[in-house]
């Protein structure tokens, strides 16, 4: 347990030294979101209808950028080898890195999308379901992203390949995440898609750390 917190502390301290790396995905997400009203026109009803999809697309693409930081810097300077050889349980390492990524990228992304919701004329009742969906969906995204990053660790063209592999797996999250906000916009119950998002998150939590641990071990053989 202490190891887990030590890992988390390390992640947060390293990120604190490279603040730009942390804020970059947020900036990209905001810029992508700005494209929607600028290209579609300022009509409020249209923006409101497109807001769920636009917010989720921007959040997904921003998260994809943030995943680069997860393993590559450790892989390049050899500290990942040290962590694996040190004998600590690899799923715990993966969980520590995922939690660090979620705290540093997903949670700020949630805050940013709430802010951008104002720009896209979301009504007040939609903000709580959006926040909950982003928190659950972002956690699943982080776990899936960690697994895929571990898989593509030694690959050529790692960046584009990660996108190709990750996006099909994240489509259910995007569908139900956007579905939550769409339901809130139409005054339909938001609990069913949120429950599905929660189920997806629990499934990812159960499977991804172990698969990512296997992938890490294979990548560093």
């Amino acid at each position: 347990m202490m190891v887990f917190f030590a890992l988390l502390h390390r992640e947060l301290r390293l990120a604190g030294r490279q603040k730009f790396d942390v804020t970059l995905p947020l900036a990209v997400a905001v810029l992508i979101l700005l494209l929607f009203p600028l290209s579609l026109g300022p009509e409020p009803d249209l923006l409101r209808r497109l807001a769920p999809a636009a917010l989720w697309i921007a959040a997904l693409l921003g998260a994809l950028l943030g995943l680069d930081r997860l393993f590559h810097s450790d892989f390049d300077d050899g500290s990942l080898d040290q962590l694996i050889l040190s004998g600590l349980p690899l799923p715990l390492l993966v969980l520590g890195k995922s939690l660090g990524h979620w705290l540093l990228t997903s949670l700020p992304m949630t805050a940013v999308t709430l802010l951008m919701g104002i720009f896209l004329n979301l009504p007040g009742t939609a903000f709580l379901p959006l926040a909950l969906a982003m928190i659950l969906g972002g956690a699943s995204l982080t776990l899936l992203g960690t697994t895929i990053m571990a898989l593509t660790l030694g690959a050529r063209r790692g960046g584009a390949l990660t996108g190709l592999l990750l996006l099909p797996l994240t489509l259910p999250i995007a569908i139900f995440g956007a579905g939550t906000v769409t339901a809130a916009l139409s005054d339909l119950p938001t609990r069913p898609p949120l429950l599905v998002l929660g189920g997806i998150f629990l499934g990812c939590l159960a499977i991804c750390p172990f698969l990512a641990a296997i992938a890490l071990r294979e990548a560093l053989d």
Partner: protein, 306 residues
């Protein structure tokens, strides 16, 4: 069964069995596909609602079944490779993946050709179509990940893990039409309570399905032999860099009176695309296998592919 499992861990032994099996598999495939085609295009009745366009079902449904079946083979091979380090598992997964990708693409294309006259649209974002599209990208991702590593051993291990992750998509595809309101019709064959399809249509469907399975077995064996030969050549760094020739297959023009009740524009392209893609896959695999096994035979070493 356990003894057989480890017996075939030696690729040479597995290859010997595969070589003896191949002629019978090819014969079964030809007979079944020929009989199935005759039944599908000629000897089966048109549907009371869909007319002649129902004949697309006889290529669309078997292709979709094969897309799922081959993914199960890929996932099973990956599991046996990761857990028991069974070398044949990895070879089978590598050989089967492109075939599965072809079948998935065929299911999507023939389904699209069937959807336009029946539903009025080439595509709709319902659960079944979307999840099969995801399956297609999973196949592409599997093949891409394997080739993205300079070290082939690392590539095969990473791809095996990805195949296992993607298995979650299979129950979603199968049950999507039951869980959600979709445009795609619900299950009519593999369901509780037995098939709801008339025997006159069920039999051509099943014959085509088994014919496709023998196609998969034949091309799978050919690709397996090709990959084993490639591994030997790569191990000795003797691989030449010339590219294989693309076998061009041309369709003869349709006889005028096969108008398929007005649906000819959809039925004939569906069958055409199916058999074109399958023939090209077969030809490429066979040519590559011939070339690589000949190169292995020319090696100056005591052991050779027997």
């Amino acid at each position: 069964m356990t003894i057989r499992f480890h017996y075939f861990a030696n690729p040479t032994r597995a290859l010997r069995v595969a070589k003896t099996l191949l002629p019978f598999s090819l014969a079964a495939m030809s007979v079944l596909l020929g009989w199935g085609l005759w039944l599908a295009l000629y000897a089966s009745p048109p549907d009371y609602q869909q007319g002649e366009a129902v004949r697309i079902m006889y290529v669309h449904v078997p292709a979709a079944w094969m897309a799922l079946f081959v993914y199960i083979i890929v996932a099973a091979g990956s599991v046996s490779f990761l857990i028991w380090r069974h070398p044949l598992g990895e070879l089978i997964a590598e050989a089967a993946a492109p075939i599965g990708a072809c079948f998935t693409a065929l299911a999507l294309i023939t389904g699209s050709l069937w959807g336009q006259p029946m539903w009025g649209t080439w595509w709709v974002w319902d659960a079944r179509l979307t999840s099969v599209l995801i399956l297609f990208f999973l196949y592409l991702g599997y093949m891409g990940l394997r080739n993205a590593f300079d070290d082939p051993a690392k590539g095969s291990r990473a791809a095996s893990i990805l195949a296992i992750i993607g298995t979650i998509n299979l129950p979603i595809i199968k049950f999507s039409v039951d869980w959600w309101n979709t445009l795609h019709q619900p299950a009519s064959v593999l369901r509780l309570g037995g098939p709801t399809i008339h025997p006159d249509m069920l039999w051509p469907l099943l014959i085509m399905a088994v014919g496709f399975k023998f196609y998969f077995l034949s091309v799978g064996i050919i690709r397996l032999r090709n990959h084993v030969a490639l591994r030997r050549l790569q191990a000795l760094s003797l691989l030449s860099s010339d590219s294989s020739s693309l076998a061009a297959v041309r369709l003869s023009s349709v006889a005028p009176f096969f108008a398929m009740g007005g649906y000819a524009f959809y039925v004939w392209p569906a069958y055409g695309v199916t058999f074109c893609v399958l023939a090209i896959l077969f030809a490429r695999s066979a040519i590559a296998m011939r070339r690589n096994e000949a190169a292995v035979q020319r090696l100056p070493s005591p052991q050779s592919v027997s």
